[in-house]
Symmetry: C2
Subunit: 234 residues, 2 copies
């Protein structure tokens, strides 16, 4: 909740309204599909601890992860207006979540226009991250993609207090990382070695350590503007 607050200035009465609506917490194991594509929804999920991912499968078994959620993210708030998701939602690690029933969200959106805009902002921020991933997937080379995602995750985790300076836990496999980047696990492995040998960053054993942030950002052409870290006043 503190984490959610950081991104969207919320008044005491608004926070109370939201808190009243939330159910849980609930715990989930890793690798569990939490929401299935197309299934009708009646609540949305706030991630408290762990990592979630949005992904889609192709018929030949390939998978593309389209977003990684960090603690404080409303993972499928868009499901509230969409009714169902176009993608699956899976736990990458063991997770703790809270649920906001859509009836409760409806009540909030009818009574708290400002809080509604804060929610709306949150889904728009997700969309902005999707766009940056499109740029990576479409135009950046493998090593640049990897560097960019590491920069993004470090920035986002720092905001919610889940990074210790230039190091943070990222307990996912190289294959999962590859599924974010539109690459194969084999190639990601090579690229991570390159980053390590260049002294830029080290991702091993479920932990990332960034040794040369400027270098990594330069390689990735990382510009955090799209993360809207200077949250708007509205």
């Amino acid at each position: 909740m503190k984490k959610l607050r950081l991104r969207c200035e919320v008044s005491a009465s608004e926070e109370e309204a939201l808190r009243a609506v939330l159910q849980g917490p609930f715990d989930h194991q890793a690798e569990q599909v939490i929401v299935r594509r197309g299934e009708r929804l009646n609540s949305s999920i706030l991630l408290l601890e762990g990592l979630l991912a949005r992904y889609k499968d192709l018929s030949d078994g390939q998978r593309q992860i389209t977003h990684i959620h960090v603690p404080g993210d409303f993972a499928d708030l868009h499901g509230y207006t969409l009714g169902y998701l176009d993608h699956n939602l899976i736990t990458l690690t063991p997770c703790r979540i809270a649920r906001a029933p859509h009836t409760g969200l409806l009540a909030i959106t009818n009574r708290f226009p400002h809080l509604t805009r804060a929610f709306w902002f949150s889904t728009n921020l997700d969309a902005s991250i999707h766009r940056e991933w499109e740029v990576s997937l479409g135009r950046r080379k493998a090593i640049e993609r990897a560097a960019h995602l590491l920069c993004e995750l470090q920035s986002r985790l720092l905001v919610v207090g889940a990074a210790e300076g230039d190091s943070f836990r990222l307990p996912i496999t190289q294959n999962q990382f590859a599924e974010c980047l539109g690459l194969t696990g084999v190639h990601v492995n090579r690229v991570l070695r390159e980053l390590r040998e260049a002294g830029l960053a080290d991702f091993r054993g479920g932990r990332v350590t960034i040794h040369d942030r400027p270098g990594l950002e330069g390689l990735a052409e990382f510009d955090p503007l799209y993360l809207y870290l200077d949250r708007p006043a509205n």
Copy 2:
């Protein structure tokens, strides 16, 4: 306006409120940057005629288009909650637009929760399209990406009455098409020839004709679920 209505059931009073807020229409030439990344916004753009694109530039001159807008789309409604855009907005063709000042949108969101949710839905639909593009860019081969985008555009244009059955105007260059697909113009050219020679679709002279929709959809693994064409009841 009729087109907007098709995607979001809007009551008479809501429609009137929106109409009262809209300014314009304004006309723009092709290839004009309408909104620049990072610039503070005080109105959002409703596309009435023509095609707009969201894009980002890289330092080496590469460009990635992250979204194509068709008539009826609110092109930068997300700018209302975000304050500024993370991308540029450009006209691909001559365009006619209307503008919704954010002061007006603020008034609407304070008075019409249901219309607010309709707006919110609209930005969530954009995000869904971003996700599908991530899948294309990350996992589909060049010819599949091209086929998928043609299917998507045909579906979306059909909804707003801008497609004539299996044919529709798409007055953009192969290079611009390539910028959507994360490919080079040269390769798009080859891929379009393949689609033509396979009897699937023909994109030439600013017009697309789909000769074998099932074949094209099969090649692309196109599933329109992500377009939320069965709009939700809320």
